[in-house]
Each structure stands twice: as structure tokens, then as C-alpha cells.
């Protein structure tokens, strides 16, 4: 079974890769990618059952947060059934579930994120008092000063010269360097799976 899974994974991977370079293989590439999309959608359903299972177990074991787990399961089933019966684009589903619950909850998490980031920046020098942290905080402060809208307009020098220079020369150069590194890492991670060195499927 393990060997069969490896053969299927490597063959499919190579066929999809070949599709980018050999026009004749593009047909198989499209077909296999379409299958992958269908499998991913089916996996979402499995993921939902996994979520229910984890939280049902928490309720069964009397976890201290079991009330939240119960709310999650009831909400999940209600939303799933509502979208299944009424269809996702239905006005009630859109108004009540999406605009009434999901969007405000995500917006509040985004607001929480802003506070969380501010708090992390404030604690950075206490947590790690080194040159890189000082540079990190100084650059962030300079960029904030350069992009802040003040009653008398933009701050001279910061908005017109310093901010564009830092963000478009230093920061962009650094970001490109990091992304090249990530790209190289991604290349080797992909090759390892294609060559069957790493096999995150099919058991031990």
C-alpha cells in the first residue's frame, strides 16, 4: 500500500510538472489538477467532520471550554444545513450568516490583531535587546512617521524622501532576498517529494 501510494504520488507529480513544458502532457495536467480540486473539496468535508469530532470529544471529556465546543458544533451544523437547504447565495444566508455573523467576527479578530501587533512591537526591545530589534523598531517608526497624516500635512523629509527610500530600496531589496531564499527552499522541498525522499502520505 505504501509503495503504491508513493508510485501514484510520484507519477502524478511528474505528469503535472511535465505539463508545464510539454504541450502533449498538458491534457493530463489539466485532468489531474481538476481531480485534485475535487479531492480538495471532499477533504474540506472530511475536515469539517474532524472539527466536529475533536470538539465532541472535548464535550464528552468535560473540558473546561466545553460550552464553546458545543456552540461551535451547533453553529457549524446550522450554517452547513442552512447553506445546503437554502443555497449559499440565498438572501437570508448572506444577510444573517455572512454579513451578520462571519464578517463582524472576522473584523473583530482583525481589530484584535492590530492591538496584538502593537503590543508585540512595544515588548520587542524588552524581549530581545539587540541591534536587529533596534533596527526593526526604528524602521517601523520611520515608516509610520512617513505615512502618518497630520493636521499640517505630511511630515517634511519623512513622507517624501525617507519612507519611499526605505520601503522601495532597502525593504524591497531585503524582501526579494528573503523570497529568493524561500523559493530555493520550496524547490528542494518539491524535489524531495517528487523523488520520494519525503512521503507525507501512505503511512510509515
Amino acid at each position: 500500500m505504501r509503495i503504491l501510494a508513493a508510485i501514484v504520488a510520484i507519477a502524478v507529480g511528474l505528469l503535472v510538472l511535465l505539463g508545464y513544458f510539454v504541450p502533449q502532457a498538458a491534457v493530463f495536467q489539466t485532468l489531474l489538477l481538476n481531480w485534485a480540486i475535487i479531492f480538495a473539496a471532499a477533504a474540506a468535508l472530511v475536515g469539517m467532520f474532524n472539527l466536529i469530532n475533536v470538539h465532541a470529544e472535548k464535550i464528552r471529556k468535560g473540558d473546561k471550554n466545553k460550552l464553546y465546543s458545543a456552540v461551535l458544533i451547533v453553529g457549524l451544523i446550522a450554517a452547513f444545513l442552512a447553506a445546503l437547504i437554502l443555497k449559499p447565495q440565498n438572501a437570508i444566508v448572506q444577510t444573517f450568516l455572512v454579513n451578520g455573523i462571519i464578517v463582524p467576527v472576522e473584523a473583530s479578530l482583525m481589530a484584535l490583531l492590530a492591538i496584538s501587533l502593537l503590543y508585540a512591537a512595544a515588548r520587542l526591545l524588552r524581549r530581545r535587546a539587540d541591534l536587529m530589534s533596534a533596527v526593526f523598531v526604528a524602521v517601523a517608526a520611520l515608516l509610520f512617521l512617513g505615512s502618518a497624516t497630520l493636521p499640517f500635512g505630511d511630515m517634511p523629509l519623512f513622507g517624501s524622501l525617507l519612507r519611499p527610500y526605505i520601503s522601495q530600496v532597502w525593504a524591497l531589496g531585503g524582501a526579494r532576498g528573503i523570497l529568493i531564499g524561500v523559493g530555493l527552499g520550496a524547490l528542494t522541498a518539491g524535489l524531495r517529494v517528487l523523488l520520494g525522499v519525503d512521503r507525507p502520505y501512505g503511512g510509515a
Binding site: L33, N50, L109, L113, L194, G203
Partner: protein, 243 residues
């Protein structure tokens, strides 16, 4: 055609370097976050506490899937090492397919350690499918499941701050790496044990003395030098007005 050549050369180099590294392994440069990771793994087993590996929300059908694969490779090592502990490690993911693979990887790790009985399918969890729902679901794990260390390894953006904040409040240790620039900036501010850029893909080379992982790092170094030479050569040619 150039891309295909690069891939083929990289594949042959990877195989060749693996054979070479089997004969003469080379030492790796010291990265404090990886020392902390090894220490945390050992301590969690000794203390009878849990490890939480956050795999992020890397979609296996696009470029963020590479970080997910790196996270899964790390999960395999973590599962094998932590399987002897009192509390099994937990992996959270924000993509359903990744969640399935994490369950399979955990099972494989337990099988390899001959500890099948201690394995539970609920160790691999899908906590949410959007960035914030994933973070919100994963935030409760360090708070309520006696976690000693949380490792963030995968595709996470700014929402990593929510998870990192939750880890800090629970008093657990945090080690973080993301392939996303925003995620890296957030993790740099949130923890002393942040990994930047391609270090995300080096975790297994530091955890396992495996020649193939060592070869992957050498391959990355070779390509890095080639890119540096190409950039410098291109700049010089442009400066001299050659194109």
C-alpha cells in the same frame, strides 16, 4: 526549457549530493532557534507535556504548499520523537487536505516508533479554513491542552500574531517560521526563536542527521551562489552598457 533544465540539474545534484553526504557529512552552522527546538522536544517528553505544531494554511495546489510540505516533514520527526511522551503532540492546520496529510504523517511517525496504540486520529486537526478562523481555532490549543511548546511552521500571515499572543499568555515556548513576509515580520517581533526565509526548510536537517536533508541545504547554497553571481554579473553588464 530553461526551467526544465534547472529542475533536472537540481534533481541530479540532489541525488549526487545525498550520496556524497552519506560518505562525508558536513557540520551545519549554528541557529539558536533549532537548538531551542531540540531542547523543547526533549523537555516536553520529560515534563509529560504536549507539543503543538501549527502547520498554517498552505494550499497544496499552489506555491504555499512547499512550506506545508516542509511542516509535514518536521511533523514526522516530531511525532516519532514525542510518541514516547505522556501527552501526544497535536498538529493544527488551516487547509483540509493538509489536515488529512497531517493525520497520516502523525500515524506514520507513531508506527515508525512502534507506538501505534498511543496514536489518535484527533491529533491532526483542521481548526478553520480562513486565516482568522484558523488562528482562532488554533489559539485555544496552547491555552487548554497543557502545551509546553508551540512550533509555527508553514504559511501564516499577520494572523500568526494572534496565535503567538495566545502562546505567550499560556506561558508556553514559541518557535516560529513562515514563508509569508508578513508572517516572518510578526514572528520576529513575537519570539526570540524566529526563523527567517529559507530556514523554514532547514528544520529537518537540524533535527535528523539525515544525508538527504543535508544535501538539500548544500543544493540551496549552490543555487544561492549562482543567483548571486548572476545578479552581480547582470548589474556589471548593465553598468557597462552591454544591455
Amino acid at each position: 526549457m530553461i526551467a526544465l533544465t534547472i529542475i533536472l540539474v537540481a534533481a541530479f545534484l540532489l541525488l549526487g549530493l545525498t550520496l556524497w553526504k552519506k560518505r562525508s557529512p558536513s557540520p551545519l552552522r549554528e541557529i539558536p532557534a533549532f537548538d531551542e527546538m531540540t531542547r523543547s522536544l526533549d523537555l516536553s517528553v520529560e515534563d509529560g507535556k504536549r507539543l503543538h505544531l501549527s502547520l498554517g494554511r498552505g494550499d497544496l495546489l499552489n506555491s504555499s504548499g512547499a512550506s506545508a510540505l516542509a511542516g509535514l516533514a518536521l511533523l514526522r520527526s516530531v511525532a516519532e520523537r514525542a510518541s514516547v511522551g505522556d501527552k501526544p503532540p497535536v498538529a493544527s492546520s488551516g487547509d483540509a487536505a493538509l489536515g488529512l496529510l497531517s493525520q497520516d504523517t502523525l500515524r506514520a511517525g507513531y508506527q515508525a516508533a512502534s507506538a501505534d496504540d498511543a496514536h489518535s486520529q484527533n491529533q491532526g486537526r483542521v481548526t478553520g479554513l480562513s486565516p482568522f478562523s484558523y488562528a482562532a481555532g488554533a489559539m485555544s490549543i496552547p491555552q487548554s491542552e497543557d502545551v509546553s511548546t508551540t512550533m509555527i511552521f508553514g504559511h501564516l500571515g499577520a494572523e500568526a500574531a494572534l496565535l503567538a499572543d495566545s502562546v505567550e499568555r499560556s506561558g508556553a515556548n514559541l518557535i516560529g517560521a513562515s514563508d509569508h513576509l508578513e508572517g516572518q515580520a510578526v514572528l520576529f517581533a513575537e519570539t526570540r526563536n524566529a526563523l527567517v526565509g529559507e530556514e523554514l526548510f532547514a528544520a529537518n536537517a537540524y533535527l535528523n542527521a539525515d544525508p538527504s536533508h543535508d544535501a538539500s541545504l548544500t543544493l540551496q547554497d549552490i543555487f544561492r551562489w549562482l543567483i548571486i553571481l548572476a545578479l552581480l554579473g547582470g548589474s556589471a553588464a548593465k553598468f557597462l552598457g552591454m544591455f
